[in-house]
Symmetry: C2
Subunit: 346 residues, 2 copies
């Protein structure tokens, strides 16, 4: 089988990880778990020896320098520079237009953490086999908590001679009670935004369900220009694209939606508490990056870029120091970080 | 009546207010409540128009620069520079030796906050009247909580034609149950370390109860030298002094101990929670110095010397940022601040 082409999407601001994640250098480009950035880890787990081809990265001009500085092999990596953010359907279509119609592409967000790389690679190959047969495949990430921040996939019938299933239903973010029901049912998985399909299949489905969007992306690509390994879509044509997510534009409409289950210690690192849970912690549940002294603490995360942080007598708290900003936040309040004045007005 | 001579003692490190209070610039010399430092406020509330004479300050060489920078009238203020700390009995004796035997001295720690200055001044004059008659007078500070960190004074019989009482007993720091009993009894007051006596009376009592200590201080003073308004006791003689508190050396032994009640919104600002309680707070009990954003917080104190501090969803917490150190501490853990590595190893 031909190598799988990783299509790495670098969008989003990660404001809920302020003050570490900043507009100028957001979440994907930070070493949040270990010493590797989330973007680097995304590219590295799609390695040639695991059956992947060179990546195609889709990013914006603001973050191009970070992408090129962090790519392990820039000379072999195609980088598509979007003039502005137009959501995932357009980004994936731009990448698909750079590829042979028979290439199998694996769409990977660049701001997630995956603890079990072998499980990821196994699921990727399972998904690629189905993609080669014409399926549009979502990773169905094993749900481990009643999360209300994710969409869910309802598992349908098994697809013969594969580890995959048809998708019975795409479910939008549920409320807490429904999420508990999904977890109890066992037939629901998180939709983590990782997809596999033939490039040609994707473009055909996009043209069928969103003809205007497909045509606008094609115009922007045809009138675009290359500069070394960079590709710049035409900005004027690009501006006419209606931004829509790949879920709404394609996955929820296609008759060929499949899913492969993936239990791979996945986290979207969507907030400070999620990051805390993805880190190695001591027996009291504490984790510290940077100089810190914790006394009588439990489930405390300290993340400092320099200043010494002392914490006494606290439970379930996040303390972050970054470039002259200090954040102190309970585990239960992390969703509000993105609405702080500092995060909004950066 | 002659002016009362304020004797202002500048000792102690205030490590429980680390990281704001540092060895090189401790608690008395910081504007912890409002824009005036505790030392400045101590001197200012003993003002000439309230019947006080020029102050005598006792300090160490390390803090001399802060004393002289913060004295409102350095040219009129005597400063005794101790070669080393020898506790309060020696410090007070040194000051007494600088004064006329009939002068009434009011011993004032420089690291307390007094919210009601008029009440302080009234109590000072009441104490001075008793002191002039030969009493050794302690301020009996109205106890408002079952504090275990202070000594207590048990009120004895009223002293005729005065607002004072004899002292039935000096009580060392009690445990919590005893402290609750004292509060319920109503006959006990905090010993806040504010004293009034004639200089001659004090020296006589010290000589009676601690003859070696009295002689050693006298030697150090006799062999000392003046330098402008500074007085330097002889270091060699001073080193032979046995350090002891005025309570142990004199107050608990004299037959002439008196007290005047003082309800004057007093706080020793002994830790971050005590400071928080002395500050103006918003209706949710929050107080902030420096740039801060508090969301869903109650009883939170933020004290930052520059960095912007954002706090979400927290109750009963202290957050301090000072010169590259960050402290996060629950209200119930403030006694442990002084034992942090940063506070100990400064």
């Amino acid at each position: 089988m031909d190598p799988i082409i990783p299509v790495v999407l670098c969008g989003g601001n990660g404001t809920r990880l302020w003050p570490r994640s900043r507009k100028a250098k957001p979440k994907p480009f930070l070493p949040l778990v270990g010493n590797t950035t989330l973007f680097e880890a995304t590219v590295l787990r799609c390695s040639p020896d695991a059956g992947f081809g060179p990546p195609v990265v889709v990013t914006g001009a603001l973050h191009l320098e970070h992408v090129e500085a962090q790519l392990p092999d820039p000379a072999a990596s195609r980088v598509i520079v979007e003039p502005e953010g137009k959501n995932t359907a357009a980004a994936i279509a731009l990448a698909a237009l750079q590829l042979h119609a028979d290439s199998v592409m694996l769409v990977c967000p660049s701001d997630h953490h995956i603890g079990d790389v072998a499980a990821f690679q196994a699921a990727a190959h399972e998904a690629a086999k189905l993609a080669a047969k014409g399926w549009l495949v979502s990773f169905g990430i094993a749900a481990t908590a009643p999360e209300t921040g994710f969409g869910y996939l309802k598992r349908g019938a098994p697809i013969p001679e594969s580890g995959g299933f048809s998708v019975a239903q795409f479910v939008e973010k549920p409320d807490f009670q429904r999420a508990i029901g999904f977890l109890a049912d066992g037939g629901y998985a998180w939709n983590g935004g990782i997809f596999a399909f033939r490039a040609g299949t994707f473009l055909d489905e996009l043209a069928a369900h969103r003809p205007a969007l497909a045509a606008a992306v094609r115009d922007a690509a045809l009138q675009g220009c290359s500069e070394g390994m960079r590709f710049h879509p035409n900005a004027e044509a690009f501006a006419r694209i209606e931004g829509e997510s790949v879920d709404y534009a394609v996955m929820e409409n296609t008759a060929h939606a499949a899913m492969v289950p993936a239990a791979m210690a996945w986290s979207d690192i969507g907030n400070w508490q999620a990051l805390h849970e993805a880190l190695d912690r001591d027996p009291d549940g504490n984790a510290a990056r940077g100089p810190a002294e914790l006394v009588d603490c439990a489930n405390v995360l300290v993340d400092s870029d320099g200043p010494h942080v002392s914490v006494i007598g606290v439970r379930d708290l996040i303390v972050v120091v970054d470039k002259g900003d200090v954040l102190v936040c309970t585990a239960g309040s992390v969703q509000k970080v993105g609405k702080l004045a500092g995060a909004v007005n950066q």
